[in-house]
């Protein structure tokens, strides 16, 4: 469903991604780990279509379409969802109104009528319950005055309502206490299915205890340098990234 080939990307003339390859099949969960500055968030931004990032080489195919030719909103409506590391606040716009606008835009794109009020509210209630999101948050301005945990849960809540094909969790676990982490993970697990693939970008192993990735990739210096199963994450947790650096050194000098 997603095929990234030899992607090179830069911001302000600085090369961040340097030939990254990644294949994701429907329903797979891929974890991307790596030290600070390795390009993890850049990958998320490039996939979501952030303007500041320039793709200088390579291709990305998403559900048979050339992703890089689509605007950010088209990517979203095609089913790509980014759970932001730092969700923004929009004063005066309630979470309910915001998500309704987004959902109806997507439905329009799919040639569907806007959801009627009753069905929409039912959907909202159901998903809010899943994320243990207090109903009062839905009528408050989007993310305004939300705690860190509430913001992250709100991201997963939006994912639940919009039902994407591919979700990118950009350090969703950062700043979460253990309870919030559990709730977020439960939400993601419930919504993950054979048609819904997930990319988990994270520093730490702890979210992966809950999410059970099919693959773990190590991103360093703009490239995936090592891939493996979930045991790789445990190894990283234990040994740090240095052992991979050493392995790389060896392979270079050998």
């Amino acid at each position: 469903m997603l095929s990234i080939k030899n992607i090179h990307a830069s911001i302000d003339g600085k090369q961040i991604l340097k030939g990254l390859n990644l294949e994701i099949k429907p329903g797979e969960v891929h974890a991307i780990m790596g030290p600070n500055g390795s390009g993890k968030s850049t990958l998320a931004s490039v996939l979501a279509g952030r303007e500041e990032y320039e793709v200088t080489e390579g291709s990305v195919e998403f559900e048979g379409k050339n992703l890089l030719e689509l605007s950010p909103e088209e990517r979203a409506k095609e089913g790509l969802f980014l759970a932001f590391q730092y969700p923004v606040e929009i004063p005066g716009v309630s979470t309910t109104n915001f998500i309704k606008a987004a959902l109806n835009e997507k439905r329009k794109y799919q040639g569907l009528e806007p959801l009627d009020a009753a069905s929409f509210l039912k959907l909202l209630r159901e998903k809010a319950a899943l994320l243990e999101l207090d109903k009062s948050l839905l009528s408050r301005s989007l993310n305004e005055g939300f705690s860190g945990g509430e913001k992250k849960r709100n991201e997963i809540f939006q994912m639940a309502v919009l039902d994407p094909k591919l979700t990118i969790l950009d350090e969703t676990d950062s700043g979460l206490d253990i309870d919030a982490l559990r709730i977020v993970a439960k939400g993601v697990n419930t919504l993950h299915n054979a048609d819904h693939s997930i990319i988990v970008i994270t520093h730490y192993q702890r979210l992966l205890n809950y999410l059970q990735p099919d693959f773990v990739h190590v991103l360093m210096n703009g490239r995936i340098v090592k891939s493996g199963g979930k045991e790789l994450a445990l190894e990283l947790e234990e040994k740090g990234y240095d052992f991979i650096k050493e392995e790389l050194q060896e392979s270079l000098t050998a």
Binding site: A48, G92, A101, E105
Partner: protein, 482 residues
């Protein structure tokens, strides 16, 4: 909960929607201003002698005045001799008594503007007075209102039918010498609405005046007077549009409100005069004096305005808080795009004890526009325990526009508490990208963010008006993104 996005979908075209003009035969005075023209206007309207004298006095005073220059506005000198001061759509009778007597062309125009004079309008519970160029062309629901003793009619009709009331209150809130444009209006005002709510009566429907400038080179100088007797309540709406013209047209109106003991008047405006084209050519010069007096104790006057039109807006709806415990409110959204300039705000003049005022101003600037908030909170020696809270927020779209805030405070009573908060923000790339990532394009994202920004003010508008105002904000913003 209003559905923002649905409103946005309903938007029509990028151009000023009301920019058509109607080919109606008009009865027009020659260009220019002198005592003869004033006598002509007065004669046309069959006015009593005192009113003519009043006009002439205002004119003689105006002649000695100069245009105010203190506002943060730039515009060429206005040639007051190059303006038509009286233009009236011709009808068989001076004022049509029945709908059938109204010129069919005029009815078509009103239909296009979405104003139905048909009594079916009853369903929406709004009584309408329509003022085209210099005269009121139709007023609805007069009979039903009259049953409750409410007078709602054109100013010219009030002059004939209620001269005593008019004489008692005209110019008592905005004196003819108040300012340059007030003096001009007092000399040449042609029509407008008059509204009287008797003691203890709660007006059962929204009263609405719709102003339209149609004739070329003509100015519009309407005057509205609202009187709410003890314990009365009325909610009043005002809407305005004009055709697209390359020349600037002048609009200099006056609104006076008198609220007696325990009376409440809520005055809402959606101002959508033609703002000029993309190059800054044309548009209405809008110089308006609006003021209310809380004359009685425990009275309340609330101004809510949504300003999206006009090339130039100079307007400060104010409240004189004379009665003890009286309340003044000002809620404003001013949106400027293209080359529009707005200098708008309010004055809250605390005189009575325990008087309270609240100011919420939301300025949105886009394109190459300049948007200023100017407000004065004045606390007199007598105003024990006066309270004011002001909140002025500015939102900038792009980097070629300006937002300015000029708050003035004069307090002569040390028991007064005056608070002022101000913020300026720019729609962030992060906010836009976040919305886009959820499937909203940039234009929809901006409209959503702006609607959220203006919400506190919009919530004060009557329901039906709020929907229209939101639509208007979205339409006015089109093309200002990117």
């Amino acid at each position: 909960m209003a559905d923002e996005m649905q409103l946005l979908e309903e938007r029509v075209n990028r151009e000023y929607e009301y920019g058509f003009s109607t080919d109606i035969e008009t009865d027009t005075a020659p260009k220019g201003l002198n005592e003869d023209i004033i006598r002509l206007i007065s004669r046309k309207k069959h006015e009593p002698e005192w009113l003519l004298e009043w006009r002439l006095k205002a004119f003689r005073h105006w002649e000695k005045m100069t245009m105010p220059k203190w506002a943060n506005l730039q515009y060429p000198e206005i040639d007051f001799q190059d303006i038509i001061y009286y233009a009236a759509p011709k009808t068989k009778k001076a004022k049509p008594g029945k709908l059938e007597e109204v010129d069919p062309e005029l009815l078509k125009t009103l239909d296009k503007l979405g104003i139905s004079l048909n009594e079916q309008k009853r369903l929406t519970g709004v009584a309408v007075d329509v003022v085209m160029d210099s005269v009121s062309v139709a007023t609805t629901f007069q009979e039903q209102l009259a049953e409750k003793g409410i007078i709602f009619c054109a100013m010219s009709e009030a002059i004939q039918k209620h001269p005593d009331l008019l004489r008692r209150y005209l110019g008592t809130v905005v004196p003819m010498t108040d300012n340059f444009f007030a003096a001009l209006n007092s000399a040449v005002f042609t029509d407008g609405s008059f509204c009287y709510i008797p003691k203890g009566v709660r007006c059962p429907m929204e009263l609405s005046t719709y102003f339209r400038i149609n004739k070329e080179n003509s100015g519009q100088f309407e005057r509205t007077l609202i009187i709410a007797e003890d314990g009365a309540y009325v909610s009043y709406l005002e809407g305005c549009t004009a055709p697209r013209r390359d020349e600037n047209q002048l609009h200099a109106a006056i609104v006076e409100i008198v609220a007696m003991e325990h009376a409440e008047v809520k005055y809402s405006t959606v101002q959508n005069w033609y703002p000029g084209d993309d190059a800054g050519k044309g548009g209405i010069y809008n110089f308006v004096t609006k003021r209310g007096i809380c004359k009685g104790n425990n009275s309340k006057i609330s101004w809510t305005q949504v300003e999206t039109g006009s090339a130039i807006t100079w307007k400060y709806p104010s409240v004189i808080l004379k009665g003890d415990n009286s309340i003044g409110e000002f809620y404003s959204v001013a949106l400027t795009t293209k080359f529009q300039q707005a200098d708008t705000g309010t004055k809250m003049h605390h005189i009575g004890k325990n008087t309270r005022s609240r100011i919420v101003s939301k300025g949105i600037s886009a394109g190459k526009s300049q948007n200023s908030y100017r407000g004065l909170v004045k606390v007199a020696k007598t105003a024990e325990n006066a309270r004011n809270f002001s909140q002025c927020d500015s939102l900038l779209l792009g980097d070629k526009c300006g937002a300015h805030t000029f708050p003035y405070i004069e307090s002569k009573n040390n028991t007064a508490v005056v608070e002022h908060e101000a913020t300026t923000s720019k729609i962030g790339e992060d906010q836009l990208f976040y919305c886009e990532q959820r499937g909203l394009d940039a234009e929809k994202a901006v409209a959503l963010i702006v609607t959220g920004f203006a919400k506190e003010v919009m919530n004060n508008l009557p329901m039906e008006f709020a929907v229209e105002a939101q639509k208007l904000l979205a339409v006015s913003l089109e093309g200002s993104v990117g």
